[in-house]
Amino acid sequence: MFRLVEQRKWYFLLSTVIILPGLLAMIYSTIATGLPFRLAIDFTGGSIWELSFEQPIQPAQLRDVFTDAGYSDTAVTTVGDGATAQVRLKAIDEAQKVALMEAIETRFGSGVIEKQFAAVGPAIGQEVTQAAVLAVVAAALAITFFLVLAFRKVAHPFRYGVSAVIAMVHDILVTTGIFSICSLLFGWEADALFLTALLTVISFSVQDTIVVFDRIRENAPKYRGEPFSLVANRSLLETLHRSLATQLNALFVMASLLLFGGATIKQFIAVMFYGLISGTYSSIFNAVPILVAWEERDLFGTKKRQMA
């Protein structure tokens, strides 16, 4: 039988290597901007306005229209062919927007089409942020509680719970880390859908872990004479097919959405894509090895080697 769990130091190393750049990006970003990644207007409040023009435009020219109207804190970027512009400014109301649209049309002609507009008041942005933090904490707590409850009959339910939670934190770090890097490089902004993706990743991560733990729970009484690491290893190998097959299916769906789906939810899908991969990895290569390490008081699987 292939001794999967004994190689745990390598898995922990790989996780560290993957998490570290993201963590550094988050730290850098927090120092530079005060936040681990850029937040969308869902959380900060403000307006985002997407306009398409008949011909490519210079962002600076469009920006001037806004500065002249007294909105000095306006950022303009062009996307795609350069004829579509994204404008970010403070939250504006309808009257202000109508006036701005007139100014834009005077400058660029009347062939301007509004593709998207969103405005979020600063107060509600703050409220949404608080609720988002609450949602993540509530989800993590509820799932931990549920795990401990589901595994209350095993020898150390607390250890199962904590191992699963560590795997969950691993996935959160991987996902937010990658997002932070993308935020620095491509200007990705975390919106309400990012939160949704994060919570989904959390629940799928736990789901994968539950399947393996469930098998350990079943195998433990069957192979009473075997050391725990062997039982865990056996359970892991038995569920490996399922983990990979399920993962593959989810990735088919995500990849197809990523390749062929609309641009508006690309970030959402990408976050889930990475999160799902991380979730499968962490349940096999983090949650179970950590549980074994705890049960055998041997973090890196080195004691065993000396004995053998």
Partner: protein
């Protein structure tokens, strides 16, 4: 055992056919729509997919009650405000708008495919359209049914109201458009006073010089005529002009209670909304972007789904093929539920559904892997199938429950802030997870029992390639 299985199989076949029929984009008979669709008022029941704003294009506005300091917002105030907003939305002439209470102090308004969202938003949050409307002479009146609380069309706001927006309001003269003499813009102030017997009346002042002049001229020429005070097309009061009012100060007498008089004065001053509303959040999505999204996500969804089906058949062979059929039934069931509940489809909602198909096959994968193990240990086919299902159930249930917990949290979050994308995703994922437990357990198991119990299954145990061992 065998006959029970046949009954379940028959039930599944009927269910599949019925849901497929519901799913088809055809004209469904009226009786079916009335009988099958829940929640909606009867005239709105139909078997069409409701598309969200991100697919259709349009504007979403989140209004928040901003009470004056010391004023509390009660559920009744908010409901009253919602009804008024709904009536105003109706006046905009948008097809299938949505006006819903959201959380404790918010109203969400969705206006699909609206042309001039900026103007619409201004109309919605305005405090109300107060008008002084000519009804005609009071003696032998042509319109005896004009009284407090009835709906009237006026020259300023002459649109024909939607029956749903009217609600319980009477609309006695749907054909008549009454003449607006003056709007609330000319009103300076309104308050209440008590006469010598302690009966309350309303005391109002008009703006100088225009308001007072228009009113003065009009009242001088129409003594004994009825001049209704109308707010958002609803008659507040229909007093008779007793004398000319030249100085811009007038009173309205009636058999008011003190509360009625006070509320009338407040409505004249601040408009119909029992509590001021403020736009806290708004989104507009262009129609072209929406149409493009629909096309792309449907393509992407189909490609994803077909890949999953192929994978199942190639990897798990005969059981995989059965799971694939179960998955198709699953998809059909989901789509039918979206139409029946009804669920508004958004782009993240479609993602939620697609993700849940992953969960649906996951349950089958768990079962099949278990089954293969049992077969390798030399179990009989029947026993392997039954053990596979019963042993995998705890894993399936536990893991699905953790997803449902997350969905619940997301739904609560989405509902409070009108975050339709979040809501759409979580609702569809939750529905999918629940349906998947039924299709993966009951439907696939029934198929497998049917095939493996039949006479033709002799020797199937040895055909390892068919079982994917």
């Amino acid at each position: 055992m065998r006959s029970r299985n046949s009954i379940v199989l028959a039930f599944i076949v009927v269910l599949a056919l019925v849901t497929l029929w519901i799913d088809l984009p055809i004209e469904h008979p009226r009786w079916a729509e009335q009988a099958l669709v829940w929640q909606q008022p009867p005239e709105y029941r139909d078997l069409k997919i409701k598309q969200g704003l991100d697919l259709l294009g349009g504007t979403q506005i989140l209004l928040e009650a901003k009470p004056a300091p010391g004023q509390a917002v009660t559920a009744r105030d908010l409901e009253a405000a919602r009804v008024i907003v709904e009536r105003r939305v109706n006046g905009l002439g948008v097809t299938e708008p949505l006006v819903q209470l959201q959380g404790e102090n918010r109203i969400i308004v969705e206006l699909p495919g609206i042309n001039n969202p900026d103007q619409a938003v201004q109309t919605l949050k305005s405090t109300g359209q107060l008008e002084f409307v000519e009804i005609g002479p009071s003696s032998g009146s042509e319109y005896p049914n004009i009284k407090q609380g009835v709906y009237v069309r006026t020259t300023n706001f002459a649109h024909v109201p939607d029956p749903a927006a009217l609600g319980k309001l009477e609309h006695p003269y749907p054909e008549v458009v009454f003449k607006t003499i003056m709007t609330g813009a000319q009103l300076q102030d309104a308050g209440i006073g008590l006469d010598q017997y302690g009966v309350p009346f309303i005391d109002f002042t008009l703006k100088q010089p225009d308001g007072a002049k228009i009113f003065g001229d009009y009242t001088a020429q129409h003594i004994d005529g009825i001049l209704a005070i109308v707010l958002d097309n609803v008659v507040l009061s229909a007093p008779v002009i007793r004398s000319a009012i030249p100085d811009g100060r007038g009173v309205i007498e009636g058999r008011f209670t003190r509360d009625e008089a006070e509320s009338l004065a407040v409505q004249m001053r601040y408009g119909a909304l029992p509590v001021p509303l403020e736009v806290v959040n708004r989104r507009t999505i262009g129609a072209t972007l929406g149409a493009d999204s629909v096309r792309r996500s449907v393509t992407a969804g189909l490609i994803g789904l077909v890949t999953v089906l192929l994978f199942m058949v190639v990897y798990y062979r005969l059981p995989g093929a059965m799971a694939a059929i179960a998955l198709l039934i699953y998809a059909s069931l989901n789509l039918a539920l979206y139409k029946l509940i009804p669920v508004t489809l958004t782009l993240p909602g479609i993602t939620g559904f697609l993700l849940s198909t992953g969960m649906a096959v996951d349950a089958n994968i768990l079962i099949f892997e278990r089954m293969k193990e049992e077969l390798r240990w030399g179990r009989s086919l029947r026993l392997a199938v039954e053990t596979g299902f019963s042993r995998a159930w705890t894993s399936i249930f536990d893991s699905n429950l953790s997803t449902l917990i997350t969905c619940l949290i997301l739904i609560l979050f989405g509902r409070t802030f009108g975050a339709q994308p979040v809501l759409g995703f979580a609702v569809n994922l939750a529905i999918g997870v629940m349906i998947s437990m039924f299709t993966a357990m009951t439907v696939t198991r029934t198929f497998m029992r049917t095939v493996f119990d039949s006479a033709a299954s002799e020797g199937l145990r040895e055909k390892h390639w068919l079982l994917g061992i």
